[in-house]
Symmetry: D2
Subunit: 293 residues, 4 copies
């Protein structure tokens, strides 16, 4: 059987990633986002709307996820959308709203950056920057993230192998930033009953190969609201260090991804269930000081 020399190349081959590898650094890396540590025994919950849409939408959602116990707030100001005619995000105005809601709720903020030219600006507002699935192999952006002083949430490309995912993280590490969280968010397959196929086996595989913390996004990973709780529970059972989920005050009216967003009540119920699963695997859901606000 002939082998394609190229496959080795694509998969890393002889240039096996070194800085992300557990062989290089056997101990778990703990990433700290304004005092919230990811990678410890405590499981971290990131929640919030897909996109920042308005002051009212953001604040109401943020208060409800904090009350339910979320540790970090998510919300996009710059949105990568397949169509140029879809809502593209509020831009810097959205970042300012995130800054305000952080002041009120005490929740650290994670938000996506899409453009090298905006890295500095986004990083000045965010407590953690997110590099989205479509930009997992946007190397100039990865290099900028590597030179950034904020932690990075790196989402797996929807068609990226585990090896390519780790090589993308290696770009960031190699440019000086070791505060990286890997996020499994579903891969593209032939199956159409879900938006993506959430590859939960990626969690133990990544944790075995790398020292970086691994979280799961069951919202994008399924694209279907009623599937989010089941897959969130499975993600905790499989060993994820955290979850990132979309919650919207009123999913039906969301400008973006409403069909996969939980309502505050659904999120609240899920948090109770997650605590039980965490306990069953000898861990617990992190209780933030912010929750004491």
């Amino acid at each position: 059987m002939e082998t394609n020399p190229c496959n080795n190349h694509v998969n890393g081959g002889s240039s096996i990633p070194s800085k992300v590898s557990r062989k290089t650094k056997p101990d778990d890396t703990i990433v700290s986002i304004k005092g919230v540590g990811i990678g410890r025994s405590e499981i971290v919950i990131i929640a919030g709307p897909c996109a920042v849409e308005s002051r009212d939408q953001l604040f109401r959602t943020a208060r409800s996820v904090r009350a339910a116990g979320a540790n970090i707030l998510r919300g996009g100001a710059f949105k990568p959308r397949s169509s140029p005619y879809s809502f593209q995000g509020m831009g810097e105005e959205g970042l300012k709203l995130l800054d305000q809601v952080r002041k009120e709720t005490g929740l650290p903020i994670v938000t996506e950056v899409m453009d090298t030219r905006q890295m500095e600006m986004v990083a000045s507002y965010a407590d953690m920057i997110q590099i989205g699935s479509r930009n997992m192999q946007n190397y100039p952006l990865l290099k900028e993230a590597g030179m950034c002083s904020k932690p990075v949430l790196l989402k797996r490309g929807m068609m990226a192998t585990i090896d390519e995912f780790l090589l993308a993280a290696e770009y960031i590490l190699n440019h000086g930033n070791d505060q990286i969280i890997l996020c499994e968010r579903g891969i593209r397959t032939f199956e159409t009953s879900t938006r993506n196929t959430l590859d939960l086996s990626a969690v133990p595989v990544l944790k075995r190969m790398s020292h970086l913390p691994v979280i799961v996004d069951p919202s994008h990973g399924t694209g279907v609201r009623w599937l989010v709780p089941s897959m969130a529970k499975a993600a905790v059972a499989v060993g994820a260090d955290g979850l990132i989920m979309e919650v919207h005050f009123n999913p039906e009216e969301a400008l973006c991804d409403g069909y996969q967003s939980l309502s505050p009540d659904e999120f609240d119920l899920l948090m109770a269930d997650l605590k039980k699963i965490a306990q069953a695997v000898g861990r617990e859901i992190l209780v933030s000081k912010a929750a004491a606000f």
Copy 2:
């Protein structure tokens, strides 16, 4: 955007499966294998070797999985192998060993049938017949299974959509047999770090669409022994009604799939963990009367 009329067809389209649908039968179907009920709150554990290799291998493995609490014994006498030069199974001699080990351990037996001509013979030994992944769209075999008096464990094809999977079950139901268990066992994707990608979202999707019980095979679903416990736990968390796992007395020497088989000790440890997860989702692992032997 043009749509392919064919997609509707492939996905069931207007001929949406009726007998497998929860709309037709809202209540959960309970499949009973010699008194072991699958589809109830109790989670059923099926374990055993990939293939029956010898009397000694089968009996030692069967005793150990029974001792650890397995409810049903699996073991193949006819093996579908990609290469004609791989071990093809012991045939009827293997079935006879399964019959003997059932007598000793009290464990019901599930074993695969690959050929319409052998349906009657295999069904005469088995307590449940298995239709494997590669035969999910072997329609003559599905029809024979539909006319068979034994329950059927139907594995999802590695290339089958959820709709096609349910249509395969519809073939069996439509020929008169409603004792069907659906089994998610991993789909083929571009990812190569696992043998298949275990699609755990299929479990809640199938349970919402159909009244049939759904189990998960983390052994074939990952193809990697050390991943089996994590994915088994996730499967229980996501709502599976049971698990089917490969256990071998000595995985290193297995004639088939040893790299994905648990040792008896690993299986024993896993069972303890599964009990905790089951409890966390308000269920429990079934305790067989057989365990009292």
Copy 3:
């Protein structure tokens, strides 16, 4: 990077197929179907309806494809259908019609067999038996085909790697039948604008690895009628030894796969185009003696 021992196994690994390999037999195998040779410089055209539906439909379609220059007639009497409620074929009655139309037109017949129990009966009517995509890993059927005295048209499974495809052919060869034609018919991918993704690179890959002739099915490979001519031309350009295409006297009223069947006029036009492409790659479309009828 850990490697899964299983991948080697799935891909053939150390048990590299020997009898199908060009290393074992450097010369091209020529498969002869009642005097029509496939694997020579001349490109063979197989055409006809997806399913035999009636005497009138079969005879009118057969006459028109013969008039346009087809060398072999295709037509299914036993149809693998995703849904149990779709037309399942006319069975032996369909085979009898194929026998009659062969007598009238002189065209050899290829038709699918799905069940080991029907191998002898189907082979008694057919000049070449077809093993369909869904049965590519139906090993008992492959073994029967290996013991059959008729040539075998083996279609690639929609989720089968090249290695698995060759291993399936190895099953047939290993049981004594070396008259095998490999057929690329589209693989399953994430793309939905076509029913399958026709993998034309499989043609040169297969021809390099094996001595067996390789043909292409652009009808199933695309699932879209207006794409068939373009892909048929590309298949000849890439080096296919033949084409198998669905032609229906009245595609709009076909009981099966009408949306991908050419009308006789479309087929006629395509044949003229194919002659030019064949010439451009130094080959020609086979002119059957049957055409002189």
Copy 4:
């Protein structure tokens, strides 16, 4: 069967791309690169090294592809590489070499841009800018390309559906640039005998849906040198308006993708074959004025 509202969105749904659609503009768009028109009956050949490595390598390769009849020179100065430890390109120095070789050979230049911050600089050297597969959904980059005065070669993402591909082109068109060439370069599938699966059916599908010209990259599409000629011929037969291919003066010593680069002699032979195929489909290979140098 539940449908995911999201699928409609991803696939274009109600927000069907308008500016790229043939419904909006029935006539073929002709893209002109310094006098070389793509989208006419004449088929355009783009060839050159994967990466600019040195003055000597670039000039020798450029002269040989011009002598063989190539119309446009390709060559990367900024290279997207999976690993941070692979050769990343010569940067602006490479662009300067491209400028010099253009002066000598008269061949227009196409080269990749990866970063919004470099758009202006790259566009000042290039006759056509390329947006690579990994950046197909890099929306800030697409917007910059839309505001750029140079034609854009947009490569299909390895994970992108046809609909997403057209939506990416819509971003460029919507920002003011209608000089876009679509390039099919292989999609990611489960098959591993080739680096990607070249989806040739995408060519007629794209040309039916859009007025934009469509070319094919058989070098990246297969990742295997000996497959390039076969797939190039098939691409012309299927209706491509052009080809882009990697040619290297000495493939064995290439710093990037040597295993998929043709030698000048192989390219020369291929050009002769392509002329015959073009003729067979009623077209011809464009003869550049540059070729008269």
